[in-house]
């Protein structure tokens, strides 16, 4: 049986790319990693693999590209269901996991990005939106898997993988975005979840250091301030 060729095109600060790392690492899939320098020009390989958006991450499996992080994670889970299945078998539980992954895109990452890039009133709103989103995640953890560390119960599932990349950005949001993070007394489930994710060995493999992420966020913010 010939070996699968699996390659990930990514840019290290991307939280969307980190989702793909997490899915592959949790399943122990071996893959080649290619760091893409997006500026000043995107590589020929990236443009060929993702001609519509020219964005990372892209997974190239046996020469065939798959784009959009949650679509990639779903694909990975279908092709390599074991070990560590990410999507529950039950359609309702699957829908719950998909809902929270989608929530990550629409409400969490969006607010975080605006926190770093926006000024004035928009910046203030981003902070409020981020607080609200984290509060919802804390509530959800308490409802969906009460007493358990992850959305997936005892192990990370699709929702955990979709949301976990956010954790290494907390420092950036505080240092660079001026976000004030409420404490564990206010969000006990969220803090437990963060500790649980951070103690998973597979997660440690590809997570960039929060300091490095904060440095990168500072560069972005300076660029925004410079053009304001």
């Amino acid at each position: 049986m010939s070996k699968d060729s699996v390659k990930l095109l990514n840019f290290w600060p991307s939280m969307f790319g980190l989702r793909v790392h997490y899915a592959l690492d949790l399943k122990g899939v071996s893959y080649d990693y290619q760091e893409e320098r997006l500026l000043p020009n995107k590589s020929k390989e990236l443009l060929e693999a993702n001609p519509i958006y020219a964005k990372i991450p892209v997974l190239i499996h046996n020469g065939k590209p798959i784009c959009e992080s949650l679509i990639i994670v779903d694909y990975i889970d279908s092709v390599w269901p074991s070990p560590h299945k990410l999507l529950p078998e039950d359609p309702y539980e699957k829908a719950v996991a998909r809902f929270w992954a989608d929530f990550g895109d629409k409400k969490l990452f969006d607010a975080g990005s605006r926190l770093i890039r926006a000024m004035g009133e928009e910046h203030k709103k981003a902070g409020e939106d981020l607080k609200w989103a984290l509060m919802k995640i804390d509530e959800a953890l308490g409802t969906i898997a009460p007493g358990k560390p992850f959305f997936g119960g005892d192990a990370m599932n699709f929702a955990d993988v979709a949301l976990a990349p956010f954790i290494c950005c907390f420092k950036a949001y505080q240092k660079v975005g001026g976000f004030v993070l409420p404490g564990p007394e206010e969000w006990p489930n969220l803090y437990k979840w963060v500790d649980a994710v951070n103690s998973v060995d597979a997660i440690k493999i590809s997570t960039p250091s929060p300091d490095k992420v904060a440095e990168f966020a500072e560069v972005i913010r300076q660029r925004v301030i410079g053009t304001a």
Partner: protein, 222 residues
Amino acid sequence: MADESVRLLCVWSSPYSMRVMLALELKSIPYERVEQDVRSKGELLLRSNPVHKKVPVLIHNGRPIAESSVIIEYIDEQWRDRGDEILPRDPYARAQERFWADFVEKKIFAGSANVVFRATGQDDFLASCDILEEELRKSNRAPYFGGAKLGLVDIVLVSTALCSKSLVEVGGLRLPSRDACPRFLALLDAIREHPLVRSSLPSPDKLRDFFATAMPWIKSLS
């Protein structure tokens, strides 16, 4: 199915409600339409979708599912053996179908809304239609994106197929010409003409008349 309860909290004119209705129709799932008043959200809606407080919400045997893309995949999986499959079973084909469904939502549907409600992005919208046209040309998908039968991308496109008259006549959207995008426009026609679309979803004319009166309010939501 006799003892199953399927209720859809929806708004007849909502593009996202329409997509879910079509998915239910494709799978021949009997369901109860529970029309919502989004200007005065009821207790059932707020209880069923406390996070987003929006329609559509599917309530299956008392359990709610929100977000149209999540609902449609649930419908396909829960009733896997009923009707036609909405998504292919092959992982790669499924990833491609999801990619194009996402493209239609972000670039075609939301793109058209940008033109009408934010007075921006007309050229981007046309460029996105060109991209979809090229995919239709390369892949020879006809009469529907899903081939002989409606699939996920067609379901997402139904909002555009039915609302385009409103967006053009009331909203000032420019669609590509038949010369520029013959396959894309033919696809919208085919979706509009599908028997289930004709029988279960609002007509383009009804939507246009509604849109003409409701436009200022819809604008305030964006």
